[in-house]
Every structure is written in structure tokens, then in C-alpha cells.
Symmetry: D2
Subunit: 393 residues, 4 copies
């Protein structure tokens, strides 16, 4: 393993930009055994690709990902394309002996995800990573530590919500609303994170999806890209198409350590811009997190004297006390969304350099387990044995 | 109808005490057409009953409820006994032509609840009421008004939680943990409130219980009343019994207006003493409530300019603007738990005097609808068609 | 001392109503050695007085307070009239050998307050009380206990704010805006509470007013009672008068235990309906309170491991653990504004019965000390320079 | 002006590191007319300087700032050294025709600050900037916009607090506790920010310091660098020295638009790690900010119907709606502490390129006005009397 890691990034949109920032910030804030290098970026059109490459300091850019994954200079392929492309790209990269860091959910369907897991398992050269960035919010990583130390005892309840509101009736039909591209709607986009966090924080596996409700509320949407002939039309006459993914998915589950879990993901939850929330209530204590206050973990010690017992708002910025805090600023100086990715990239590089990551990384095998849960939920929603109220007299 | 309402209270524990306070406070803070009078109290032992009657100004006290419900002086029988006694007492009171105010859930089982509903329907003289006090938290009544005005548009999501933590492994086996007395555990005690609030605030009915999970976590508990012979035994040797009600019940549901609802009730949720929470997310806006901050309704106007849009923390204490606020103190001076009962009693008296209550009252017919939902949930939990994770390869 | 305490209430407005509620609730929730009785109420006009007396169960009502304070049946005179009347009424009551409970501030000026203190000191029969109700918010009383136990160590900072917003330019010129009636504006109304709380919670006395700023922002106001001839005039032509009390008063102070204190009182602080806030930061910890969340005390333990240290939100409703909680409802069931008065009345009755109050009571001597601080602040504001408390006799 | 701006950074500690990050991030997230380049870094010892230069990509490093400020390749000198060195370094840089970006407070004393202001005024070539980073927290910049639009009307109250807790008795005697190096304690470190924010958000100037209290609570501290001979000594025997700067400073002030302002800065406020808070209450509305929730501005619209009026929690992350939001991530994805510096550097570069900054920048003239206030406060504290700003030249 060289002491640099040349990265080929596929995708230059939101996730691409977040990853690029991580390539640059990680070596400045962490002491890395392996240094990430922005080597090649792959996009769909040169008009935007060239300035993107220039801005982020890539050495090369290319429209053809198939060539890039074989480039001998490249050590790691970073897949930030839409979910339906993950499998083909990852398989090619693994075949070429590259390490792979893939965005989540692992794929747009379970079959592809399985092939990715299997390819990773068979490869002796490729290390795989999945960008479950929220694990590395310091408060979440800290919650995992508290759970591991037994501070909560047996965990009775887990409550996970990831609520957004950008997907109302006026949102156009982008790829994110189409099953063939995205695989899933809010469920894949948002529950995939929460399923991962539930497994990560508790160390438990899902054993049963007890009930589920997945729904496409807004079926007809204006096309994101209007056919040329109609661009001049009024809004009312705009060309429309069908959305076939869920706008919201809720489910109940049991986990291997006896925890009862409730999940809710939505893109139509007015009032929430990007709020993932996690709460665990155990025999000895409880923890609570909301990404709207990402710098804090709330902790309730149930064994404390009731007189002074209360939810504690712990600002997770103390070096030496809270995960990743030492890499950044002095106590009380918050970090933001992007740092969850920087922390993750730093841990990937640590791992490639033979060091232990601060908290466990997700690889294709691990991410496949989460995708199994995604699928089980949809199956439960489809084959549900709901009780109709009309049956109860 | 006389201009006073002589009340016979059955039960002198927690609920009895709350109701008594309402008899005294309501006429001092509201201009009532009918004045409640603490007339007779019924209890189980004279040792505690006599001082209770004295403290709360009852004219009489009695150990035999069957005599009391026939007392010609009594106008209304207030049933605050354990759930399994509701039906017999209510039927007797209705047979005697009395009005009845009954604690919730309506009964410990659906059959008894049905007989109560039917008796009420057949009676031409008796008016019935159910003590769903949380409806009359000003913030909740205000939420209902906003929904009715269309401020939320179509409601996509309803999220209801009622979390407590007093029922951990060390809590003894009182009647509340036994099906024959209580009928249900956390589900009947807590979800009954939330099911009522969901129906009350949205004006929708439940159409389907999509999935449910009900669980007795702590099966074996120390008996609340130890047999005499063992009182000297050490804690480890104390006589134990089985709990056969749920410690926690979660469910997913669909409602008649297209709302997806999630519910969670627990007595083992560390960190929560008595927190009921309700959130609705609609097309045009959202509202949020927590009993831990009972004086406030949070409101998000989704049609507002995003620049200044944000969750508004509305202190519901403004006379003329917020329900019940005018009866109490000037703006900014909070009321507490007991006032939800006072507000309810005031509305009962208004109704008996031919006036409109501030917000709708629940009667036996209405409460029976909520009990049907309670039962449907348990049926869904029992006959569930869960997906085992082992089925997903 | 008889085992009942017949109370003569002077004043039937906001405070009168709050006190009446306390007479009724206290004996129902506390085991009182002396039982308060609503005996006589004194008001200004019979039209409102008779129904008020009826509603609250007074045995008598009267327009002439001078007769009432001499009534041999009366044991305690409760003065809820405007501040400028306190001294004359209190002196007459003490002269007649009655106990006195007086609203705060003690008087509208220091000279009168001094005469009240002196009369109380000279009397061997009269016990005096001042209605500093906020002391008996459970969270505040609990804060005092934590301070006394040394949990905060040396207290470096005290921060007190009492912010309201009803006194903007459109508020009419009631007696509260006139010095001859009220003595002070926001300062007397609001800072009087916070000065009392600062002394109560810390156990320290003020030693110096280091700087002060008191201001009448809205000088001209529409008369609250328009002359008959002008009632038909348009708003613009309404008769006006001058306000000569402060709308807002801020000051800095030093206290005897080395604490630096900042105070701010305002009736023109938009966004705040009735919010008093207190925070103390000490060597070993800190506490924080806001009346907008009156059920909670926030506590920070500075000696705790930084890893899990955080502000704890303690719900002060646990019987046996938090002051007054045992008198009310089970854990997690909040009380409201009025209960601070009920708690206070219960402690007054306990004291008259020879028992210890839960936390110390304020009498005329104690309230005079707070009034000295009020005066020192205005002096500092006037001279724009520090004032030593020793200068104020 | 070239299209690159070569920066010479003096200082490699906390502030140096924050600035370096800004050099790298700004051109990646903003479209800059002038691109910052990490050119030379100046430090005190080569052992740490060389790796620092390497990590942050500086072309050169140097122990002698006097040489560096004359380097013809350098366009801008970034002064992040202790306050007492600012004047000498800034004057030399200006004399050499360089632009200067200086950390705040402008200097350790008013005389030096005045010479800096004068040198900047006389120079035709040098542009000056001061690192008042908190101005560029999006919520703060947004608050300024709301004030400018008249949303608050006349501002009655301004409340500013900057509370930290690292300066307790156990903190060693670093340069920050010595007047000759730092000039001021908490006052210069923390109030300098709040004075700047008060002027920035309101657009008003200070007219009077009405009262002030500045105090050194912990006079004797263990030396940060122990003499060699004593390093082996026990803690109790460690060499000590005197702190001669304030641990906490509070003051009251009047501003030119009629606002009454209260300020409090402390390094010994347990419970607060790095919390600056600002609240303004005006005739038509109010805004509130806390750096502990830096992503949000709370806004109260006082002209709204009281029924739905409430503090709104506005998440300031909406591109096009909130300052700087468009440069970063999609709505709901928070930024952190460091981004306030990146936003500021981007505006500096915009200004050097002839563009308008998003919100006004502070230069030496502007920062001198803030330093006059700093000095007036200490004068008021010393004389225990009000000081008119006109007295401070």
C-alpha cells in the first residue's frame, strides 16, 4: 500500500462535492497514515466537469467511468452516482483490484447488493467502504460508546425518525422518484441511514419486521426535464409522469437484543428540513439525538438519584472525551454536516494504513445486512395482515 | 335539570382526587349554568374515606356504591374506579337515570364497553361523559381548531407517543399489571388517550391497524401486597406473581382522511415521567405538542416564505385567542395538569345546562369508537404477519 | 391561636383572585395546622364585590377596609391593593393586632416601607408575610437547596431577568404607570421579585449597586379612563396623560458572598409574556430557571467528568425529592402559576401553627431589605454612579 | 491587483489554524474574484513550524515576521499573534503597502489601536480587515437584515452575553491572563465580539457606558511554563504568578438609536463552553441567537395575531433566503464554527476584487470604534460611574 491513496470520484453532484471536501480536509485535521489525493473525477458532461475538476484540484477528469476504474494510478474508486449504477461500477472496480467507497444505500435492489457483497468477499485485494456518514457524527459515535459500556442496560425501545419535507406535490419528477433509478424513495434514502444507525449504536441485528406501511402519496409529478416542445407551456399544462417510490415509510421491528424499534422516514413531513432523530430507552438509562442539534447527545442516567436526575445536554466537543473532537476545534466550537464525511474518510484512510478506525466502518458485507432490512420492510408492507377497523364491531 | 349537579364520586385515589379538585375549582373560574356539588364519595374503607370526605367537603360518604347510584339526591355518578368495575357501575347508574362521567378507557374489555355504549344509547335521561382530560389542554384544543380551519391541509403524518418509566422491573404487581382488573397495560392506560387525541384533533376515524407490537417485558413481579406470612422475608424471597398486560405497545395505522399514524405507549421508557407527544405534518403546515411543555403549541406554517418560516412556540395563554385561557390567569401565566380536568368538568356542566362546550365532549358512544381501536391493535399484534429476517437471504 | 385563620382580603382584582384560590386549595392539598377561611372581602364597588364574595365563598363583604381590619373575627388581613395603600392598611391591621400578608413590593416608597417594618418589629402579636410567590416555585426552592448544600461552591455570577411585553405604546395609562399609585414601574413590579429571589436562592445580601439604567420609554399614554366628554372621540383625539415610572430598569450589583449580579426588568420586551429567568454560575456548578418552563430546574455539575457533563433538565415533580411536589400530583404531572401562591399560603398557615415552612418565608423585615435594594438602584440610575447599600438606611 | 492574493500568516495556533482552513475552503465553495493562497507562515520555532507549513500547503515558512511583511510576493498579512504584537506588525505591513487582516481585539490598548487606525487611514494602498468572524454566522447576518428592513421597529433592548468556563482557578497563567500581552481578559476576548455584533446588527453606535463591573476573581495562578528547577515539585508547590486581567466584565450602555444594552462576558461561567448570545427586543418584533445553536435565528413578530404569534426557530440554511447558505449545503444541513471564518475570508477576497461583501466588513477604522467602547467600559468600571463615549477619543 502506498502512502497516498489516489481517488477516482464518480459523480459530481451533492455527494461528489461533500466527498471532495473530505479529501482536502481530512489530511489537514487528522494525522493520516495514508493520504487521500483527488486524482480523477468522472462526470456526465465536460461543461461542468472541467471547472469542477479545477476547483477541487483533480489531476484528471473523464466522461467514461469504465476507463477510469482500470487506471493503474487509481487506488480507490469513490462511487457517488445514483443507486442503480452502484453495482456495475463497484463490480468493475473490484475486478480491477481497486478499493471501493460507495454511497448508500448499497444498491437499488437486493440482488445487485448481494452481488456486490459477494464480489467484495471474493476479492483479496479490494477493501470496501460504504458512506454511512451519520455514524461519525460525534454524538452518535459517543452514543454507541455509552451503549457498549452498558450505561443503558437492556435496551427496551429504539425510536428512529428521518424527516424531510422537500418532496411535496410541487417537487418535480427527478430520478429520486423513480424506482428504476433510485430503487426506493424515502425508505432507501432515509431509512437506510436509520437502519444502519440502529445496528451501529445498539450492536444488535434485526430479527423481524413486525409491521410496515409504505406509501406513494404524490403519484403524479411534473417532469423534471420537460420535453422541448412543451417548455413554453404554462405550469398547468406541463408534461407529467408517475412516481413509483414511497414518499414515506414507517415500520415496527424487533432486534436481536430484545429491543422494540419504530422507524419513520418521510419526504413530506412539513417542518422538518433534514432531521434524523434517534432515541434509545434502556433499563439503566436513555440517549437521544437529533441532527437538528447535531452537536449534542442527550443522556438520561436512570440509576441516578431522582432528585437530580434529568436529561443531560452533552456538547460533544471535548477533545479526549468525545469521538473526533480532538481533530477539530476547542471545546464548545461546533462542527457541521460535512465533518461527518471528513471523519469517515479519515477512518477509511486509517484503516487502509493498518490502523483502527475510531468507530467501526461499514463495508459491503455490513451494508448488505442493512439492505436486507430495507427489503424485508417493503415485503412486510406489501404482504401485510392488517386489521381493518370494519372487522371490529 | 336543577341548577346544581350533585355528584357521587366512586374512587378516592389519584383520579378521585383530581376530580374533586375540579368540582371545587370549576365554579370559581367558569360561569357555569349548572354548579357541581361534591355530594357523596364512595370508597373501600372508612378509615381513609371519612377524612377524604371531610377534606373535600362531601356531604356524605358510603362504602356501597350500589346504594349511592340510586340515591335520589344524586344527579351524576363519577366513576373513578379500576376499569373492570366501570361497566357494572355505569349500567346501574344509567338504570337509575343518572348522568355518568366515567374514567377511561371506557372498560377493561370491548364487550363491556359495548354494553355501556348501548345502555347510554337507550337511555333518554342519562348523559354520559368520559374523562379524556388531555383534549382540554389548551394547546391540544387549539391544535384541533387550527386543523379544522384547514391550516394543515391534508394531514400526511400523525405521530403519537405516550411515554412513562415507572413500570420497570422493580415496580410491584399492582392491579394495573393484571388483565382481569385493568384489561390492558400501557396500551389501555396510555394509548387510549392518544387514540382519543388523534380522533379529536384530526376529526378522522381509524380505518386500519396496519401493524402492531405489544409486549410484556417484565413478566414476573413482586406482589404489591405480600401475604402476611412472608412480609418478614428478604426482598429476594418475596412472593411474586405474573403480569399479563403489555408494558409497551406500538402500532401503525391509517385514518379516514388519508393520514398515516404511528403510536407508541410505554411504561418502561427511561427518561420520560409522563410525556404524551403529538405531531401532525400536513400539506400546508404542522403542529407539535409535548405534555412536558403543556403550555405551548408548536406550529409550522408551510405556506410562509421560507426565509422567516420556522417552528413557532405559541404560549397558549391568551384570553380570547386560546381555548380556556380566559378562565384562568393573564397571558404568560401557566396552568398545570389538574386544569385539564377542571376545563372538562366545566364543559360537562355547560353541556348539562344546555350550552355548547368549548370543544367537543366524549360520551360513551365516542369512547367506544376509541376502544374498538384499542382492540384492533391487540388483534393485529396477535395475528401479525411479520416478516422474519431469516426469510430474507 | 385558633385552629382556623379568618382572612380579610383587601382587593379583588388579579392578585385577589389568586389569593382566594390559595385559601381554598391549600387545605385540600396540605395537612395544615391552621386552616385558612375566606372571611371578608373588601372592594371598591358593590356591583362587582357581591358576586365576587359569593363566588369565592366569603362570609362577608365590605367597602370600608378600616372597619374590616378591626373586626374581632378577623385573624389575618391580606393586602392586595395597589402599592401606595399598603402602608396605611398594614399599619392599621398591625395596630389592631392582626397578622398581615401583604403583596409586594412592600410599599410604593422606602419611607412607608420602613414604617411597616418598624410597626411589625414593635408588635408582639402580629406576624407579617409578603407574597413573594416565586420563591415557592418548586424549581426555585430546589435551587436554593442545592446552593445551601454547596453544590455550586462560590457563586461567581447571578443573572436575573423578568421580561414582559404588555407595556408598549398602545397600553393605556393605568395606575401601574403612575408613580403616586405604583411607586415604581417595571422595577417595582418585576425587579422586586428578582431581588427577592437573588437573596433567597443565594442567602447573600446586596452590598453595592454598581451601575443602573432606568427609563421611561413611553412617556405619553392614552388615559385608561377617558373623561366622559371625550369618549366619543376618535383614538387619535383621546385624552392623554404622562407616565412617570420606568418601563425598563437594568442594573449591576455585588453581593455579600462575592457574586456579581446583573438584573433586567422590562414591560416592553417583545417576545416575553411573563418570563422571569434566573441563572447562577458557581465554582462547582450552575443552575438555570425560566418561568416559561416553570416545572424544570436546569443543573450543571462542574465537578462531573466532562465526558458526560451537561445541563440536566430536572423535572421538579418528584414527591420526597422536590419541594412541594408531594402535596400535588404524581411525578411528571406539572403544576402552574397559581400553585406558587397555594404553596406560600400553606407555609404561612404552617408558620402560624408553629411549624416550619418548607423554605423560609419573607416578612416585613425581610421585604424591607429588598426594598432598600430597589431604592438604591434608582439612586444609582439617577446619579449615574455606584451606590453602596450601606448608604441606604 | 492580481487575481491571486498571497497571504503571509503570522501565528500558527488556534486562530492560525482556523484561518488556514479558510484559505483552502473559500475558493472551493465561493466563486471568488481573487483567490487566496497560503504563501508564507511565520512562527516561533522551526520544530512545529515546518510540519505546519507542510500540512497547510504553505510555500514558505519563516521565523522572522519583519522580513516576511516586506516580501514582494506577499499581498496580504494575516495577523493572528497575541494582541500586544498587532500594532507593530500591522504598521510594518501597511508601511510595506500590504493589505492586513488582523485578529481582534484590534490591539491590547487604545493608543496602539489608534495608531493602527491612523496608519490605515493614511495608506492609499493597504486595505484592512478585522477577523470579527461571528458577524458571518448566517443567523447573525440574517438578524442584521431583519433589523435593517425595520422588522423590529425601534429596538428597546439589546442583551449580549459571551460566556465560557475554561478560566477557573485551575487554569494556568498563560499570556491570556496577563495585561502586557493580552491587554484585557474576558472583556477583550469576548466582549470585543459582542460590542462588534451589537454595532453590526443594530447599525447603532454606543453613546454612553452607564455602568460597569470588571473583576479579576482568580488573582494567583500557577505559571503555564514552570521554571526548570521546579518542574519536579508537587502541584501545591508550583511557581505562581499574578493575573492582572478581568475574568468577567459586565456593563450597561445606551446606543444612538435609543437602545438599552446589557453585556456580560465571563471565563468562569460554569455550564457554558463557548456561548455567545444576543437578543434584541423592539417595538415590532424580537430576535434571539445563541452560538450553542448557531444554525438558528429565533424571531418573534410582534405585529402578528397573538393567536399564532410565537418565537420562530428559523433554520438559516436556505439558499437564496439566508446569507451564505447558497455557498454550502442543501437546506437543513448545518455548517459549523469554522465556516464563519470561511465566509469572512470569501468576503475579504470579494472586496479586494471590487465586489460587494455579503454583509459589511470591519476595517481598522471600524474596529477602533469597538475598541473605544472596550476602553470606556474599563473606565466606567474603574470610576464606578457612567462614561460618555464622546469622552473617549
Amino acid at each position: 500500500m502506498p502512502d497516498v491513496c489516489n481517488i477516482a470520484l464518480i459523480g459530481q453532484k451533492f455527494m461528489g462535492r461533500v466527498h471532495c471536501n473530505a479529501y482536502w480536509q481530512a489530511p489537514k485535521f487528522f494525522n493520516l497514515a495514508v493520504k487521500p489525493v483527488a486524482h480523477t473525477v468522472v462526470g456526465k458532461d465536460l461543461i461542468s466537469l472541467a471547472p469542477f475538476a479545477d476547483r477541487w484540484g483533480f489531476r484528471k477528469y473523464n466522461l467514461n467511468w469504465k476507463d477510469v476504474v482500470k487506471d493503474p494510478e487509481v487506488h480507490l474508486v469513490d462511487i457517488s452516482s445514483p443507486s442503480y449504477m452502484h453495482a456495475e461500477q463497484a463490480l468493475a472496480a473490484i475486478a480491477a483490484g481497486k478499493h471501493v467507497a460507495c454511497e448508500r444505500p448499497l444498491s437499488s435492489n437486493l440482488k445487485d447488493a448481494r452481488s456486490m457483497r459477494n464480489a467484495a468477499a471474493r476479492s483479496s485485494r479490494s477493501k470496501t467502504f460504504v458512506w454511512f456518514n451519520y455514524r461519525r457524527t460525534p454524538a452518535i459515535a459517543f452514543a454507541r460508546q455509552l451503549v457498549k459500556e452498558g450505561r443503558l442496560g437492556r435496551i427496551y425501545h429504539l425510536r428512529a425518525q428521518f424527516l424531510q419535507s422537500w418532496g411535496g406535490p410541487s417537487a418535480p419528477l427527478t430520478w429520486r422518484f423513480q424506482k428504476k433509478y433510485a430503487g426506493y424513495g424515502a425508505h432507501g434514502d432515509l431509512n437506510s441511514h436509520m437502519i444502519d444507525l440502529a445496528r451501529f449504536v445498539t450492536g444488535q441485528e434485526f430479527t423481524e419486521i413486525t409491521g410496515a406501511l409504505a406509501e406513494t402519496v404524490v403519484v403524479e409529478r411534473v417532469l423534471a426535464e420537460q420535453p422541448k416542445a412543451v417548455t413554453a407551456r404554462s405550469a398547468a399544462n406541463k408534461a407529467k409522469g408517475k412516481s413509483d417510490v414511497d414518499d414515506a415509510t414507517m415500520f415496527l421491528a424487533r432486534m436481536s437484543g430484545g429491543t422494540f424499534a419504530t422507524f419513520e422516514a418521510s419526504r413530506i413531513a412539513a417542518g422538518h428540513h433534514n432531521n434524523n432523530m434517534l432515541e434509545l430507552n434502556g433499563e439503566h438509562g436513555a440517549v437521544r439525538f437529533s441532527f437538528e442539534d447535531m452537536g449534542y447527545l442527550w443522556y438520561y442516567d436512570n440509576r441516578e438519584d431522582r432528585r437530580t436526575a434529568g436529561w443531560r445536554r452533552i456538547q460533544c466537543t471535548s477533545a479526549g472525551n468525545h469521538p473526533y473532537a480532538g481533530a477539530w476545534w476547542p471545546d464548545g466550537h461546533p462542527i457541521g454536516y460535512e465533518h461527518t464525511f471528513v471523519n469517515l474518510l479519515a477512518d477509511m484512510m486509517a484503516f487502509l494504513g493498518g490502523q483502527d478506525p475510531t468507530v467501526p466502518l461499514s463495508d459491503f458485507h455490513d451494508a448488505y445486512e442493512s439492505q436486507r432490512v430495507l427489503e424485508a420492510v417493503l415485503l412486510a408492507a406489501k404482504h401485510r395482515a392488517a386489521v381493518k377497523m370494519a372487522e371490529i364491531k
